[in-house]
C-alpha cells in the first residue's frame, strides 16, 4: 500500500471517480436529489455533506459485509438484497445515533438523511465496488470520491439555478427542462476532465 505506484493509482481513482466519471453527470446515479434539492446553494451543500457521510460509511459497511459474510457463505448472488437492507438500516441507525450523540451535526444533516435512502448512488457505489473487485480500503476511497463528485456537481448546479431564477426562460422550458439543459451543458464541461487521466 505504501509504495509510490499504489499511491499514484489511488490518486487516479480519486480524480477518476469524482471528476472524470462523475456520478450524476456521466453515470446518472442520484439524479433525484440532484434535480430536486438544487434550488439553493445552502441546501445543496447540506445534501452533499450528508451524501459524503452516508456513502463513505455505506461503502465501508457493504465492503465488510461482502467480504466477511457473503463470500465465506458463498451467497454473493444475494448482494442486491443484502446491500439495500444494510443501507436502509444504516441510514436509520446513523440518524438515531446522530440525534442522541451529536445534536449539532444532526441539526445540520438531519433533514437530508432520510432522503438518501432513495438515492441510488449509495447502492450504485456499493455494487460498483464489488463489480470492480475493490478491497475494503479502496472501496471506501472510491465511495468518498464519488460522493465528493456528487457534492461538486450539485453545488455548481445550485449556483447556476440561483443566478437563473429571474431569467426570462421560454414558458415550456420553465422548471425541469431548463434544469436538464443546464445539467447537459455541465456534463459537456465535465467531459473535459477526461483529459486529466
Amino acid at each position: 500500500m505504501a509504495d509510490m505506484s499504489s499511491v499514484k493509482s489511488l490518486l487516479i481513482l480519486l480524480v477518476g471517480s469524482s471528476l472524470v466519471s462523475n456520478v450524476v453527470l456521466s453515470q446518472f446515479l442520484g439524479l433525484c436529489p440532484f434535480l430536486g434539492v438544487s434550488k439553493k446553494i445552502k441546501t445543496a451543500a447540506g445534501m452533499g455533506a450528508a451524501v459524503i457521510f452516508v456513502i463513505t460509511l455505506a461503502s465501508a459497511v457493504a465492503g465488510v459485509v461482502y467480504k466477511f459474510v457473503l463470500v465465506p457463505l458463498e451467497i454473493t448472488y444475494l448482494q442486491t438484497i443484502v446491500f439495500i437492507l444494510v443501507i436502509a438500516a444504516l441510514v436509520q441507525f446513523v440518524e438515531m445515533f446522530l440525534k442522541k450523540a451529536m445534536p449539532a451535526l444532526y441539526k445540520a444533516l438531519g433533514v437530508y438523511l432520510p432522503l438518501i435512502t432513495t438515492n441510488c448512488a449509495v447502492l450504485g457505489v456499493a455494487l460498483t465496488n464489488v463489480q470492480k473487485n475493490y478491497g475494503i480500503g479502496t472501496g471506501i476511497l472510491n465511495g468518498f470520491a464519488t460522493a465528493v463528485g456528487f457534492t461538486i456537481a450539485i453545488v455548481i448546479l445550485a449556483g447556476i439555478r440561483e443566478k437563473m431564477e429571474y431569467n426570462d426562460v421560454p414558458k415550456p422550458f420553465k422548471g425541469m427542462p431548463i434544469v436538464l439543459l443546464t445539467a447537459g451543458l455541465m456534463a459537456i464541461a465535465f467531459c473535459g476532465f477526461s483529459g486529466l487521466l
Partner: protein, 258 residues
C-alpha cells in the same frame, strides 16, 4: 375486464411514468443510448414491476403496515435478483449493456411507488395489470428516448440505418450530455402540449404532490422510504410536515375523483 383496459390505458398514456409522472429518471437517462437498450431496460423493469405488484397485492393483508417498506424492498430485490440471474444466463449481451443498472431497479421509484400507492390497497388481478400498464408505459417511453438518441447520434434505429447519405451523426447524443438534452426537449414539448390543450385535468397535479410521484419533488413532501415508520420521527420539527396519512388521503381523493 373493463378494469384491465382502464389500468393498461392509465399506465401507458394517462399516467405515463416517464412523461407524465417523471418517475425513475436515472435509468431513463442512463441506458437509453440506443432503442434496443431502452426497450431491454423497459421490459426488465416491467417483469419486476408485474411480479412484485402481484405478490405485494397477494400479501397485502399479511404485511404489517409498520414494516411495509422493508417488506416491499425485500420482495422487489428478490425479483430483481431472479431477473438478473436469468439475463446473465440467457441474454448476456443485454446484461453487459445494462450493467449496474439492473440491480439498481430495486431503487427505481416507479416500483416502490406502485407498490405503495396501488398494489398494497388493491386486488391481485388489478395490481397485475397496473404493473403491466405502468411497465409498458415505461418501456415505450424509454424506447422513444433511446430511438431519438440513436437516430441523432448514429443515424440508425434498432441498428438499421435510416438517415440519408448526407446526414452527419451528432455523436454527443449517444454520450452523457445528449441524454439531458433529449429529455429536456421531450419534457418541454410535453409542457407545451399540456398548456395548450389543458386536456389533462388536475388529476396528475394532485398525484404529483404525493410521495409516489415526481422524484424531484421528494424534498418537498418528505418522500422518505423509511425503513420503518417510527412514531417519533414524524414529530421531528425539522422533517417536512406532510406524512403518510396526508399522502393516503390525497390518494383516496384521487380514486374518488375517478
Amino acid at each position: 375486464m373493463n378494469k384491465v383496459f382502464e389500468r393498461l390505458y392509465n399506465g401507458l398514456i394517462k399516467e405515463n411514468p416517464t412523461f407524465v409522472l417523471a418517475l425513475g429518471m436515472c435509468p431513463t437517462l442512463a441506458v437509453t443510448t440506443s432503442a434496443m437498450n431502452g426497450l431491454g431496460m423497459g421490459l426488465t423493469t416491467t417483469a419486476v414491476l408485474v411480479l412484485s405488484n402481484l405478490i405485494i397485492s397477494l400479501l397485502r393483508k399479511v404485511i404489517p403496515n409498520r414494516v411495509r417498506i422493508p417488506a416491499f424492498i425485500v420482495i422487489v430485490a428478490s425479483f430483481v435478483t431472479m431477473v438478473q440471474l436469468l439475463l446473465q444466463a440467457y441474454l448476456p449481451s443485454l446484461n453487459d449493456a445494462l450493467g449496474v443498472y439492473i440491480p439498481l431497479i430495486v431503487v427505481n421509484c416507479i416500483i416502490l411507488g406502485r407498490a405503495e400507492s396501488y398494489a398494497y390497497h388493491n386486488k391481485p388481478v388489478a395490481s397485475f395489470f397496473d404493473g403491466l400498464g405502468m411497465g409498458l408505459g415505461f418501456s415505450v417511453a424509454l424506447t422513444i428516448i433511446g430511438a431519438l438518441r440513436e437516430i441523432l447520434g448514429t443515424g440508425a434505429v434498432f441498428g438499421f440505418k435510416i438517415t440519408p447519405e448526407g446526414f452527419v451523426p451528432i455523436n454527443i447524443f449517444v454520450l452523457a450530455p445528449g441524454a439531458f438534452f433529449v429529455l429536456a426537449f421531450v419534457t418541454a414539448i410535453m409542457n407545451a402540449v399540456k398548456s395548450k390543450g389543458k386536456v389533462r385535468k388536475t388529476d396528475n397535479a394532485a398525484k404529483a404532490n404525493t410521495c409516489a410521484a415526481d422524484c424531484s419533488e421528494c424534498d418537498k413532501v418528505g418522500c422518505e422510504h423509511r425503513f420503518y415508520d417510527a412514531k417519533e420521527s414524524t414529530e421531528n420539527p425539522n422533517r417536512p410536515k406532510k406524512n403518510i396519512a396526508d399522502i393516503k388521503a390525497t390518494d383516496t381523493k384521487i380514486k374518488e375523483d375517478k
